[in-house]
C-alpha cells in the first residue's frame, strides 16, 4: 500500500495521519515533501501519527531522522505518535527510540510542545 497522509491543524500543532509503507522511493520522498511543505507554511510543531504505518525500511527510518533534523533546524519539534509494533521495534534496535519524542496519547503529544 502506497503512503497516504492527511494533515490536521490543532492550535499551533499539525498532526499528520500517515498510512501505508515508508520505504525507499515514493514513500520516503512523500514524507520528505510533506514535512518540507509544513515547514514552508510555518508549521513547526509536527506530530507524525504512525498508527497505520505497517512497514518501514532503512530508507524510511532515514527519512524520519531527516525530517526530525530538518524541523529542529527550523526551531521546531517533530514528535511520533502511535507506533506499530514493527516500527517501535525498529526504532528500539536502531537506538532511535531515545532520539525521537514518542507518544501514545495524541492530546499529550500536542500539549508537550515547548511553546
Amino acid at each position: 500500500m502506497n503512503l497516504q497522509a492527511t494533515n490536521r491543524d490543532i492550535g499551533s500543532a499539525t498532526v499528520v495521519d500517515i498510512s501505508g509503507r515508508i520505504t525507499l522511493g515514493e514513500g520516503s520522498a512523500m514524507l520528505r515533501s510533506l514535512v518540507r511543505q509544513l515547514l514552508d507554511h510555518g508549521r513547526k510543531h509536527i506530530v507524525l501519527n504512525l498508527a497505520d504505518v505497517n512497514y518501514i525500511d532503512s530508507s524510511g527510518i532515514g527519512e524520519l531522522v531527516s525530517s526530525f533534523t530538518a524541523v529542529k533546524k527550523e526551531g521546531g519539534e517533530l514528535k511520533l505518535l502511535h507506533l506499530t509494533k514493527k516500527v517501535h521495534d525498529l526504532l528500539l534496535i536502531t537506538k532511535l527510540f531515545t532520539v525521537f519524542d514518542v507518544h501514545t496519547d495524541e492530546e499529550k503529544a500536542i500539549t508537550s510542545f515547548s511553546s
Binding site: 520505504t23 525507499l24 522511493g25 525500511d57 532503512s58 530508507s59 527510518i61 532515514g62 527519512e63 531522522v65 531527516s66 526530525f68 533534523t69 514493527k86 525498529l90 534496535i93 536502531t94 537506538k95 532511535l96 532520539v99
Partner: protein, 153 residues
C-alpha cells in the same frame, strides 16, 4: 530429500521496482519452507536491505547492471546471497549506526538490520567482482517439502 540443496536463482534489473520484487519473492520462499509470518518479515526485510544496497551503492542505479539473488535451501538452514556488479566493500569498513556520532545519519542502517534479523551475515568480494551479501537463517523446525518448481542440484 535430506542432504540435497535446492536452489532458486533470480536475476534482477537495477530498478527501484526490483527492491519490492526481491522482497515479495523472499516472502513466498520463506513461507514455503516453513518460516512463520514474523520470521518471514525479518527475512524479507533483510533481502530488501541487501538489494537496496546493491541497487544504490553497488550498481549505482546503473540499469545495465544486474542484481543476482540466490536462495539455497539446505537441510537445516536457508542461505540467501545478493550479489551486485559494483566495486565491492568490506563489512568492517561500514560505520556502526549505533555510535553516537552516527545516530542522526540518514543512511547506513541496512546491514545493521540484516545482522539483527538473520542468524549470520557475511560480505565477500567474489572473483567475478561486486559485493556478495550472504545471509543465513536456520529453520525453526524440520523443513516441509520443497516449493513447487524448485530445482535440485
Amino acid at each position: 530429500m535430506r542432504g540435497l540443496t535446492q536452489r532458486i536463482e533470480v536475476t534482477l534489473e537495477t530498478l527501484l521496482e526490483s527492491v519490492d520484487l526481491a522482497e515479495d519473492i523472499t516472502l513466498r520462499v520463506a513461507k514455503a519452507v516453513g518460516f512463520d509470518e514474523e520470521q518471514g518479515y525479518r527475512i524479507g526485510m533483510s533481502v530488501r536491505e541487501a538489494v537496496i544496497n546493491a541497487y544504490t551503492y553497488g550498481n549505482l542505479q546503473i540499469r545495465e547492471r544486474h542484481i543476482f539473488l540466490l536462495f539455497e535451501l539446505l537441510p537445516a538452514e536457508m542461505v540467501i546471497r545478493v550479489r551486485d556488479q559494483g566495486a565491492g566493500f568490506h563489512l568492517e569498513d561500514v560505520p556502526n549506526p549505533l555510535a553516537e556520532e552516527n545516530l542522526l545519519k540518514t543512511s547506513g542502517r541496512g546491514l545493521f538490520l540484516i545482522r539483527a534479523f538473520m542468524d549470520e551475515l557475511l560480505v565477500t568480494i567474489p572473483k567475478s567482482g561486486g559485493a556478495e551479501v550472504t545471509m543465513t537463517k536456520r529453520y525453526p523446525r524440520a523443513r516441509p517439502p520443497a516449493p513447487a518448481g524448485a530445482s535440485e542440484v
